[in-house]
């Protein structure tokens, strides 16, 4: 008998991508997508159940379909459709509590996969340069999505203690980018000129959308030989890009702004409701964050197809050229080299 997979948060692009991907797996019998909103994207053969995970109804769904694998992807930083930050937080935290409560009462559940984020480590100047899974952050995120994620992980740990028979995998994703990404960071990179914090050049790590679905599939199915897919794993592409480097590769000029001004303007814009660029995003773009992915490679047995640089390249290609396209700058430099007296070309 195949698996019955329940996926939350399917109204989002990432959730629907994952649903489309996992239903083709031979081990999987049925896929049930759950969300409070009707998804705009195709879900293929998956069954969609319109249910709000903040309500106890989710327990009935679990029991009714005899679900054995729960993939919780409804942990997100941005609101879906209308609704503000309060609603996002409620879905993240209360939704997770309800879902975990339902899972605890459902004897059929054998595996739980939770999408988390590397922002649970925070970003501070006094942190080590590279985070491993066991490292506690020096300063806990004070609010926003990062704090939600920390709380969600806390509940998941509690659930894992109470139901030791359930294999629990928490995947901490670095910033997800790709041609279809719609995260706040993708919006930021789509600005014509990138405001940066003066005097700071953060290190960033990205993970490609395709790798996200691949690793979620890997974590949802039975572990392959020699690997273990329960536990907490950092998921990120290899390598690191500096913010200045990403701007140059995108071909967008940067506008350095003093840190107090950034914080203040960000707050103004948030109050005015123009953007939901959160303080934690500003902290990320100030101090950066890099995680260690040894566990992902050696224990989980996952090798991402895209490095950080390739992920960014794929994303940049989808966004079109900026004001200072790198290839044009390169051609200008070549033109200068060619215009130099003949001597320069001899070499």
């Amino acid at each position: 008998m195949g698996k019955v997979v329940l996926v939350t948060g399917v109204a989002r692009k990432l959730g629907s991508r994952f649903v489309r991907r996992i239903q083709h797996d031979p081990e999987v019998d049925r896929v049930i997508g759950v969300d409070a909103e009707v998804p705009e994207h195709q879900l293929g053969n998956a069954e969609f159940v319109r249910a709000d995970i903040r309500h106890p109804m989710i327990a009935k769904v679990l029991a009714q379909h005899a679900v054995d694998t729960v993939v919780h992807m409804d942990v997100s930083g941005t609101p879906l459709g209308s609704g503000g930050r309060a609603q996002v937080k409620e879905t993240n935290v209360i939704g997770t509590m309800q879902l975990l409560g339902a899972c605890q009462k459902a004897p059929t559940v054998r595996r739980l996969v939770v999408k988390s984020t590397t922002s649970v480590y925070g970003s501070a100047p006094r942190d080590p340069a590279v985070f491993t899974e066991t490292m506690p952050p020096k300063s806990l995120p004070s609010g926003g999505f990062a704090k939600d994620a920390v709380e969600v992980e806390g509940y998941v740990r509690g659930f894992a203690r109470r139901r030791p028979d359930v294999a629990v995998a928490v995947l901490r994703f670095a910033n997800i980018l790709g041609p279809q990404a719609d995260s706040p960071l993708a919006e930021y990179f789509s600005l014509p000129a990138l405001p940066t914090v003066f005097g700071y050049d953060p290190r960033l790590q990205f993970v490609h959308e395709d790798d996200v679905t691949d690793v979620l599939v890997l974590a949802s199915l039975d572990a392959r030989r020699g690997t273990l897919n329960s536990g907490t794993f950092n998921i990120a592409g290899d390598g690191v890009l500096l913010l200045s480097q990403t701007a140059r590769r995108l071909g967008r000029p940067t506008v350095p702004v003093l840190l107090p001004a950034v914080t203040w303007v960000g707050q103004m814009l948030r109050t005015a409701g123009v953007t939901d660029f959160s303080p934690e995003q500003i902290r990320l773009l100030t101090h950066g964050r890099v995680v260690d992915t040894t566990q992902m490679r050696e224990t989980l047995g996952f090798a991402p197809r895209y490095t950080t640089a390739e992920t960014f390249c794929d994303f940049a290609r989808s966004r079109g050229p900026g004001l200072l396209p790198p290839d044009r700058l390169a051609r200008t430099v070549d033109a200068i080299a060619a215009a130099l007296p003949a001597g320069a070309n001899r070499t």
Binding site: R126, V240, S244, R328, A330, A339, L340, P341
Partner: protein
């Protein structure tokens, strides 16, 4: 702790100094040539037609590296040094801005550029020597990679290309001409594999760390890079943190040090920290407490050899006669130095005194014959810490006895 083991270093170091010195000299001479060929890189943006011969000029005196040349370069270099943090990104960012603005300007101007080319070529040849064309081509390819973002940084933010081509070229005049650093025992740093260089710390501003970095970079036969562990204050300050990361420094914490050593890097640490850096002038060359011995535990865990490093000369660059605790508290820094010139002469007081430096790398202390759990043995860690400390202290005294004068 009291019965600290003092290892007999006298015979060893004396025996080594014979081959050590000429090698260091030769290395420095060779690297000087390398430096000379590398310098025009930073001067490259000046090759834009609008500014034909602006930047190479201040660099020109560097070629005659006689002592008389040193004072000439000093003011320029110094200014970069003390607001090195502020001045530098200006320089690097400057290239970005210049070409950003330059791109549209130069595209239609290529015809004009050709017309200017002959005159320019003559001027450049006079300024930069016969091989100027190759240097310019090299500089342009560097510029091309920089502005298109086509370079690599490691997980710690270390930008090898920028460090080699720009940051080291900025520090090298200090190293060669200003402080005239003499490097001894560089061969004690292994050609490959991890190693932990433990040095004394002094000088009010951490120039000694930077000079040790140049010493390893320019003088080590295998061209190794010293990855310094810096105080958290460095990573709080804007601009400074950016440059520190790009130069390969990282936060002084066990996790980072261990990761770097596991990857086989040469890690530099100054366990005295601010206690050593900000000690009064009267306490010069007296080593302060060596932290809690965390560096020894990390070396034991990774089996990396510990290389004691003694730096003479850094103590006198800013003779700290007083410390304004109130100002330090207000500014949120560990100490606020008062020297005979600072803050009385304003920014001029930030010019370090041109002392003569010696950096001696000592015999490696092996840690790979201890079992991995030795890091959990506090007695062993304390003993090793003391051994390293005593070695550095004794080498300091020896070097001080040999020193003819503070400035020569």
């Amino acid at each position: 702790m009291a019965d600290a083991k003092v290892i007999p270093f006298d015979e060893d170091t004396r025996a080594r100094r014979g081959p050590g010195r000429p090698r260091g000299r030769a290395g420095s001479r060779k690297k000087n040539e390398g430096a000379a060929s590398a310098t025009p890189l930073s001067a490259v943006p000046a090759e834009f037609p609008n500014e034909p011969a602006g930047a190479p000029e201040p660099r020109a005196p560097r070629d005659d590296a006689d002592p008389a040349g040193a004072p000439a370069t000093a003011p320029e270099g110094v200014q970069q040094g003390q607001d090195g943090p502020a001045g530098d990104p200006g320089a690097t960012g400057g290239t970005g801005v210049a070409d950003g603005g330059g791109a549209p300007r130069t595209a239609p101007a290529s015809g004009v550029a050709e017309a200017l080319a002959d005159a320019l070529g003559g001027a450049a040849e006079r300024l930069m020597g016969a091989r100027w064309d190759r240097k310019v081509a090299h500089g342009l390819s560097f510029l091309r990679r920089r502005i298109t973002g086509d370079y690599e940084v490691d997980e710690f933010g270390y930008d090898e290309q920028l460090t080699d081509q720009v940051l080291m070229s900025v520090l090298r005049p200090f190293f060669d001409q200003y402080f005239r650093v003499e490097v001894k025992g560089i061969e004690n740093i292994p050609a490959e594999g991890g190693a932990l260089v433990v040095a004394n710390h002094s000088g009010t501003l951490p120039l000694d760390g930077l000079m040790a970095q140049v010493a390893v970079h320019d003088h080590h036969p295998a061209g190794r890079h010293l990855r310094l562990l810096a105080a958290d204050l460095v990573f709080v300050l804007p601009v400074v943190n950016e440059l520190a990361r790009k130069a390969g420094h990282t936060l002084a914490c066990t996790e980072d040090a261990q990761l770097l050593l596991e990857r086989g890097e040469v890690v530099g640490v100054m366990p005295e920290g601010f206690k050593g850096l900000g000690k009064p002038f009267a306490d010069r060359y007296k080593l302060q407490r060596f932290g809690r011995g965390g560096f020894v535990a990390t070396a034991l865990k990774t089996g990396a050899p510990i290389i004691p490093c003694s730096i003479v000369g850094a103590e006198e660059i800013y003779p700290m006669v007083g410390n304004s605790k109130t100002l330090a508290r207000l500014l949120g820094v560990p100490y606020f130095p008062v020297t005979p010139t600072f803050p009385w002469l304003g920014p001029l007081g930030l010019v370090p005194l041109p002392t003569k430096w010696t950096i001696q790398f000592g015999e490696p202390i092996r840690t790979d014959h201890y079992p991995p759990e030795a890091a959990e043995d506090p007695m062993l860690v304390f003993n090793l810490t003391d051994q390293v400390r005593e070695t550095i202290q004794h080498t300091l005294y020896k070097l001080l006895v040999q020193r003819r004068s503070v400035f020569f």
